[in-house]
């Protein structure tokens, strides 16, 4: 109330500051992180054959919906993208576009040997690594990984969100993007 002026300065900046202040407060921050951790909805993007095991992971025997994770329809409403195996050049473009279409905060799991390091197709001219296309949070080895491994990845991601916070995740994502742009130059 200094100077008796409240409505002063850049409105946009002020709103952002207020929002930031609000979101960074302890209880609200915790609640948001808790809600995000238990609501990791993977987008429906089948990049390759590991999708079979993704299906099995959400099927009755392993039922990843227990952790609050529900495969959902379109990129706009989801916050997790699971790269299920090989990314071919044609699919990598789609994966990148899908990732960009998703609303923040968003997370990436690279599932299977092919997504991590090419796997069986390590010397194929048509295969790219997931980390070349988008910042990856969790890696699951195996070809294909068992559904338990996917469950473990989701649990690990939940831990990560609740321990390290969302703003840290955003920061890391920006840094890795800058790093990738720099390295491509």
């Amino acid at each position: 109330m200094e100077g008796g002026l409240v409505f002063i300065g850049n409105l946009d900046l002020t709103t952002r500051k207020v929002l930031r202040w609000l979101v960074e407060r302890k209880p609200l921050k915790d609640i948001v992180e808790w809600a995000t951790a238990f609501s990791l909805w993977p987008v429906h993007l089948m990049t390759s054959c590991c999708g079979v095991e993704l299906g099995a992971a959400y099927a009755p025997r392993f039922d990843l919906e227990r952790y609050g994770s529900l495969p959902f329809v379109s990129p706009r409403q989801t916050n997790l993208i699971v790269i299920e195996g090989t990314l071919t050049r044609k699919m990598a473009r789609v994966a990148r576009i899908t990732w960009e279409q998703m609303a923040d905060p968003k997370f990436v799991i690279a599932m299977g040997a092919c997504a991590i390091d090419g796997g069986l197709f390590w010397n194929s001219y048509n295969v790219v690594r997931a980390s070349e296309v988008m910042p990856v949070d969790i890696y699951i080895p195996g070809c294909p990984p068992r559904p338990e491994a996917l469950a473990r990845a989701i649990l690990l991601l939940q831990q990560r969100i609740r321990k390290r916070g969302l703003s840290r995740h955003d920061l890391e994502m920006i840094e890795s993007t800058i790093k990738r742009i720099d390295s491509s130059k």
Binding site: A35, F38, S39, P60, D63, V73, S74, R76, Q77, A103
Partner: protein
């Protein structure tokens, strides 16, 4: 503190206007209005996933709160959506895009203003044509769903909103006819009289055709299986909601459940006898809380049956659904109307 409350009570007791405003606002915003609806929608979201999981040999949401079977899941999803980024597509029609989910919810919640849940506290607008008014208001909501699809500038959303428009016409009409046939039978459009007159037999036994027709129509209007055609995910992604994200999608997702709450409330008042067997009561607890909980219980049963059908059915094709709507459900609603007229003019039912 106590003094202040007493003072308030005195003040309210003396001033009819303020009393009614406070009660009305509480009715609309807290219970059984908006906040109750949001809680019910979140719980219904969870209950749907749990019931479906039972049929599908699995647990459903669990880990979020193991002791109560993961009942917080719906809240977590809603909170997550509320704090996610809202993306506004560049080519969308911004104002309708932003306004229509809220307006759709507004028009879905408004009918609560006409619908009583207890004999003691009356709804904000107590009218003797409450049934008609409630139907009229809630029929406006689908227009905003159509608007959502239109404003998104997405082909799938466009197709979805077209489907919604087509289907709404073919199912709203049977719903209205079958509900009004109950009005014909009870000789009244006032919810209080309708509930009173079911003290001997509930409406669903007096006119089973109307109950069946309106239940099937309710399934479609609230977009439940097997009529979940406008959001058919494997065909047109999420239909009208395809481009919505963050809070806006949270609203749109809640919309179907809010509508289900309101329609189920209407069905339980008209067909299941509302707060009966309690006829009348005094005081807040006996006259409002217990009867309203009975209504909520009946409403919950109706909506649980509606969400259970997800586990049994796939979805119809749009032409099949329209054919069913115009041939079977419409015919059923006409039969229910004729049945009501026969009962009334044949002298089978007689109201004082």
């Amino acid at each position: 503190m106590i003094q202040e409350i007493l003072l308030l009570k005195e003040l309210l007791g003396n001033n009819e206007m303020i009393y009614r405003t406070v009660i009305g606002l509480g009715y609309m915003l807290i219970y059984p209005g908006l906040i109750m609806i949001v809680i019910a929608a979140a719980l219904l979201l969870w209950a749907e996933r749990k019931i479906v999981a039972l049929v599908q040999l699995r647990y459903g949401p669990l880990w979020i709160s193991r002791r109560i079977g993961g009942a917080l899941q719906g809240f977590a999803d809603l909170i997550r959506f509320s704090f996610q980024e809202v993306i506004i597509p560049r080519r969308s029609d911004v104002i309708p895009f932003l306004l229509s989910p809220g307006l759709a919810i507004l028009f879905s919640v408004l009918p609560i203003a006409f619908m009583p849940v207890s004999p003691y506290i009356k709804p904000p607008i107590h009218s003797d044509i409450g049934l008609l008014a409630a139907i009229a208001v809630i029929s406006v909501a689908p227009i905003f769903i159509v608007l959502m699809g239109w404003a998104s500038d997405n082909k799938f959303a466009f197709v979805g909103s077209l489907r919604e428009a087509l289907l709404i016409v073919s199912y709203e009409i049977p719903f209205i006819i079958s509900i009004l046939s109950m009005g014909v039978m009870f000789g009244s459009l006032d919810f209080y009289e309708i509930v009173e007159r079911q003290s001997l037999l509930p409406g669903m036994l007096l006119n089973p055709f109307a109950f069946l027709a309106s239940f099937i129509a309710m399934l479609r209007v609230t977009s439940r299986f097997p009529f979940e055609i406008s959001e058919a995910e494997t065909e047109i992604v999420a239909g009208p909601y395809t481009e919505y994200s963050g809070l806006m999608f949270g609203l749109s997702m809640g919309l179907a459940y809010i509508k289900l709450y309101v329609y189920a409330l209407m069905v339980s008042l008209v067909f299941l006898g509302g707060w009966l067997p309690i006829v009348s009561g005094e005081g807040v607890i006996g006259g409002f809380l217990i009867p309203s909980l009975i209504v909520i219980l009946k409403l919950t049963v109706v909506s649980l049956v509606a969400v259970f059908l997800r586990a049994v059915y796939g979805r119809y094709r749009i032409d099949q659904a329209i054919r069913i709507g115009w041939i079977h459900v419409f015919a059923l609603s006409i039969v229910s109307l004729v049945w009501s007229i026969i009962l009334v003019y044949g002298g089978w039912v007689r109201w004082a």
